[in-house]
Amino acid sequence: MKKKEADNPEDKAPFEARKDEELVALVARGDEGAFAVLLSRYQKGLLTFCYGFMRDRQRAEDMAQETFLRMFRNAHRYKPVARFSTWIYRIAANLCINELKKLKLRYTVSIDQPMSMDPESTKVVEKMAADTRQPLTEAEEMELQGLLEEAIRHLPEDQRSTLIMVEYHHMPYRDIAKILGITVSAVKMRIKRARENLRYMLRFLEHE
């Protein structure tokens, strides 16, 4: 494997500045440095993406690892007709969906069974709801992250994965539709339902 020694951080600069599509072409030729940059760029995003399906951090990480390996093995087949991000997320989505089928882990949650909520913990949500620009203390931030994590985990898999693509990855609906192999209408419906469920779970029911 060709190695690009990176003793000097400046040696990384050429790769860091390159577009994904250029790096993939180098990966096809076995360029480790190019692959490392793509890995750094996408590891967090892919992990979160896979979490949307797997609902379990370790499983999500396993899927993310497998996605990178598939990306590497198929780098020579990538054609820049679609964006690289769409390509790799599509690989990840299919891996996750197949894995879920294998594991038969289709999590669903009934809206009639809301997640348990510590009355104290809703205060941070109420505070945010009043003014989302309000700064939070470190403790409040941790609480919020925990609440959001729990609420998102409780969403049905199709809603969760789609919502994460919108809210975390900021993907356009049409890209999401392409990645998941569904229609844009289906994307809209999933988003709508996910937000309704989250609103309920976070007790975001402020009345006029």
Binding site: G30, A36, Q65, N74, N94, M128, Q145, I191
Partner: protein, 318 residues
Amino acid sequence: MQVDCERIRQLLDPYLDQELTAEEISAVEQHLATCRRCAFESTQMLRLKEIIGRWKGPSPSSDLHEKVMGKVREDMRRSGTPLERYYRRVALAVTGGALTVLGLGILVFYVGFGTGGTATPDLGIGEAVAMAPAMPLETIARLEDLSGEGVQAIRPDGTITKLTPPASLKPDDILEVPEDATATVRVAGGRLIVGALAWQGKVPKKPPRGLTRMRFASPDAAYSLKRGTVRIIASGEGLGAIRIDTSAGIAYVPWEKRHNEHTRAVIYVGEGSVAIGVVAGEAGLLKGSVEERENLPIRKDELLEIELKESRAEGQAK
């Protein structure tokens, strides 16, 4: 464009996600300016979106980067770069080396059409390899997985689809078969080209020595193929037989007018468990299920089913 409250409820999410057209945005904002209830709802949804947007997602473990790099390095060490791997598959097909389908876990299918009536050029394997990428891909190969292990097709755009039988492959699909799995490939129409190996090899004048003849049993029979030694030879009744190129791949004899339902098929496994395809003449391959248990006859447009398995000959040998 006028929208009512009911319509606003449908448009609110895409509005917040900036997915509306300019006209729709204008209509929504006009309504929100005049409808207190919808305006309140919109504010609530916006706050919800902002709160959700603060979610940071799971953190990768500290060694994720190294783990992935390690796996890729190991992959490279075993198999070379992605491009080297691809070209090596072509080279193996040409040289008759061990293109072990199950060992590699990857079977590459390119499916081409028979020329339907026109004379097929008589090419050697080397020439066929050079031509293969340019061959028209017009036929779909059907995959039937009898193992239940799970076979996946990786499309050129990166989509990975688990194939549940009966499934269809498209041209340029890469078929990934788990180790020890059994995959049955059914080809309808045209030629099945394995890797870059097109089945337009020259017809040997006489069968090579030391090869084993095997008769096909029913389509569900599980034949295991011995490395480099199994050859199934059709024996027609004085009619043209479809022969095999002995060096590596599979050749076919163009279907001639004198061929009829008594002509048998010839399938050859080269060195190693070279993936097998069905070869037939220009008149097309077999279709439909094969019911005869012995001496498989091929009729025009009939479908022939071949099973790939571990490399151990089990069939009847002559």
